[in-house]
Symmetry: none
Subunit: 361 residues, 2 copies
């Protein structure tokens, strides 16, 4: 807008008037940038301290599962990498068990990426049931949901969306899984096509404070249009994010960008730690898996009454920690692999990043 | 119990009486702790010496198979990592051949993890035979059992349970495999869902001195409830374990925990070497594969009359060695990978751990 106004001035005004106007415009822009920087400084989370505060001590007396049991719902005919990235990141952050619920065809491939994951081939896409009656399809769908239900209560968090795809039959089934998770108060991290699903059916997460949405620029744009009925306003990004989170009933939103902005409708925090200029696909999946583990840990520490130094919503703390960890791992990977950095390279640096922020001993 | 009693005192007594009672309670607790520590010291196995005593010398005149042929029965629709971890660990300890008997769907995935394993796709789950008559199912089941039978006599040990799942049809088939192994006096290591099976059908292992059970906390709890009809008693852990092993007719039990406790109903030994505080899933599979190899070696050395320094049950020796080896490998992996240590990382350190305890030259 400022640039447009400046151009208009060139055509209308004399050079003296023009110079004066340009000076004024520069001043306004400068003030606006300064104000924005100041407010962002104020919003910037002390992310490393938060990672340290919520990460559980490693202790020989602990049993398998106590450091977190995460499940990813995603993986279809087209996408198999995304659920793997999310689930393996959860383990490398420090969770004990990581499950994936995906389609039958995606399962052998995801299993093949790593023997560390427990992969359930239970979802179905329209193409795989094209000859079946509605009754048979409903039967298969009910079966899929009951397979997830058998495990649901054991999970500390469910990540819905990595590599989910947009098949209507599959999304119908995933909607039911979300409803069941909600009934059992299992926290949800919604990303990728999971966001497509909930943006079109906000009731799935509306008013559920244990839901985290992690939109990128385009997913955020659609959310803002749908919920606030307007366009994204970058000048007042944090106020708009605050309104959005509040309007969806106190879900936590992690708006991914140059700086990540996080709000639960009550506060806004930013994470601006230097990451990597590479934008290879899959980094959002590392983030969703990481946030799932950190928010589980934050909830656990909060339930023990040990979060007095950071009396924030554990969901917000989980987002801050996940964002910070991804940025550090991406930065280390980029320093090593430069332009050829891929998501797997970043995952290879999760361990060192955790160790730098929060040494195991 | 002491803590509960202490709390009760607070509400009932005057401060003088209370102080006296607290003093007595502290004394009892202190004595009890001291007694426990003393008895555990006494029980601690000289694990490294045992590994050295039972590990066969590497000798250019030996043939393929002489250092051990191990088979893992496990691997189903959900689980493929566990049988791989168990079978590959057996090879990395030093066995010559490692087989896996799993379901048809699990086989290509397990084969894909490593070309070193021989993988037989012979088990079946209910979902894969849902349209078949009972007669057809019995036929398929008989076929599966006869496929294992073809190999059975060649195996030095059968590990039953890693990634087995709980499908009733599959477990029925595995029960028969256990019975056949027993008839042929093939040693058994039972873990994971194999323990679920034998806890519900104790006759499968009862009175079979070549069976080893490797329960974790929860699996042990179910065993104690079923066999001794009481709850787990941590104060007298070794006496209870001794009774349990005796009551199941002299099977060997490796009770996994902060210290591993091992009993065959005659003696109790512990292994407390420092391992790793990570509790990622899959470490139990390394243990089952390791115990299988070590007990095979111990039986062989005992049969040759070369176990005069360690006149213990070879099954107990195998458990002690397996526990010690896993702990050392886990400790080395953790020192390198810290909080992001996964089971595959521990497997990468099996070779170095063996070399440190028992150099090949």
């Amino acid at each position: 807008m400022l640039i447009k106004l400046g151009m208009k001035c060139h055509t209308l005004a004399t050079s003296a008037v023009l110079r004066r106007q340009e000076f004024l415009l520069r001043s306004v822009a400068c003030y606006s940038d300064k104000k924005r920087t100041m407010s962002l400084d104020h919003l910037e989370a002390d992310a490393d301290s938060i990672v340290r505060a919520i990460t559980p001590k490693l202790d020989l007396s602990r049993h398998k599962g106590q450091a977190g049991k995460i499940a990813v719902v995603g993986g279809c005919r087209e996408y198999t990498g995304a659920p793997y990235f999310s689930a393996i990141s959860a383990l490398k952050i420090g969770a004990d068990l990581s499950h994936v619920f995906c389609t039958k065809d995606a399962a052998p491939v995801i299993k093949g990426y790593s023997p560390e994951l427990i992969v359930h081939p239970i979802l179905m896409e329209s193409y795989s049931v094209s000859g079946l009656s509605d009754e048979d399809r409903r039967y298969i769908s009910r079966n899929a949901i009951s397979e997830v239900d058998k495990w649901m209560e054991r999970f500390d968090c469910l990540v819905v969306g990595p590599g989910l795809g947009r098949d209507p039959l599959l999304l119908e089934c995933v909607s039911e899984i979300i409803k069941h998770a909600r009934q059992l108060k299992v926290p949800l991290v919604i990303d990728g096509d999971g966001l497509f699903l909930v943006t079109n059916c906000l009731d799935l997460v509306s008013g559920y404070p244990l839901a985290v949405l992690t939109p990128n620029v385009n997913e955020y744009k659609r959310l803002v249009q749908k919920v606030l009925n307007c366009e994204v306003n970058d000048q007042d990004a944090h106020d708009q994010l605050l309104s959005l989170a509040k309007r969806i009933g106190g879900v936590t939103i992690l708006k991914k960008g140059q700086s990540d902005l996080i709000s639960d409708g009550e506060i806004v925090k930013s994470v601006s730690i230097y990451g990597s200029p590479r934008r290879c696909g899959g980094q959002g999946d590392i983030l969703s898996g990481s946030v799932a583990v950190f928010l589980s840990w934050a909830r656990h520490i909060a339930a023990e009454g040990n979060l007095t130094d950071s009396p924030m919503n554990p969901m917000v703390l989980g987002c801050i920690a996940g964002s910070a960890l991804l940025r550090r791992a991406a930065s280390l990977a980029f320093a090593y692999k430069h332009r050829s950095t891929l998501t797997s390279d970043i995952i290879d640096f999760i361990g060192r990043s955790m160790e730098e922020i929060c040494p195991a001993h």
